[in-house]
């Protein structure tokens, strides 16, 4: 089991702390975003979304949240997969899939937020 572990049981406390700190950064990005949407009285057009998401504050929060996402989702996927999947091969493949989705999405978001005009 330890061979598949990104964060082995010996680093349990470390990942426990990382999981909670990264959660705060994810809340810091998505809660303003949800409030922006809920408090808009009418349909939010793509241009308005673009202006909001590419403002300096939201870019910074977005990059921090994307980095936190890698930590948070990878620890979460590892915890869930190692709890429920007991066949080593399936566990490896499932975890690899989840890691690829997470890292790929995070890199894509950071690329978009850094490069978009």
């Amino acid at each position: 089991m330890a061979s598949v572990a990104l964060y082995s049981y010996k680093k349990g406390l470390g990942s426990w702390v990382l999981q909670r700190i990264s959660a705060l950064f994810l809340i810091a990005y998505i809660v303003p975003l949800l409030f922006f949407w809920v408090l808009h009285a009418e349909f939010v057009s793509p241009m308005v979304w673009k202006q909001f998401l590419l403002s300096t504050e939201m870019r910074i929060l977005g990059i921090l949240a994307s980095l936190s996402l890698v930590i948070h989702a990878m620890i979460g996927a590892w915890v869930v997969a190692t709890d429920y999947i007991h066949i080593d091969g399936i566990k490896r493949v499932t975890l690899a899939l989840f890691y690829v989705i997470t890292v790929g999405s995070s890199v894509a978001i950071i690329f978009l937020l850094l490069n978009a005009q």
């Binding site: 909670r20 998505i30 009285a41 057009s45 793509p46 998401l53 996402l69 979460g76 989705i101």
Partner: protein
Amino acid sequence: MVLLKKTTDPRPVFLNLLKIHLPLNALVSILHRVTGVIMILVLPLLVLSLAGVIYKPGIYRYMAIIPNYLWKIAIAAILTAYMYHVLAGIRHIYHDFSGHHSLEVTNRSSIIILVVWTVWIIIVGSRLWLV
């Protein structure tokens, strides 16, 4: 399985998941995991919509290929899953740091987050279907 064969206990192992009665706390906890997994799986869709908004705002016209009500259901599902995960996460942190682990307290916090979550579902629903 090896353990099962060696034991002399003749009782059958009964693991029909539909017939296991989960206590409220267990349900709240398992939903936290389920919503977490769901959100990882929808991440590529969120990245695509971010790319669409940033580079091709006109892409919204092509979204009509999928009927409006299906988009709304998908958005509602993602936003309710996210808010559930946040609320249950805050509940976990509260119990981690407060040291309250009794059944009474954890049951109460379960009910509180379910009530707040219901309010959020109503807000999302009215924002999507009434505005």
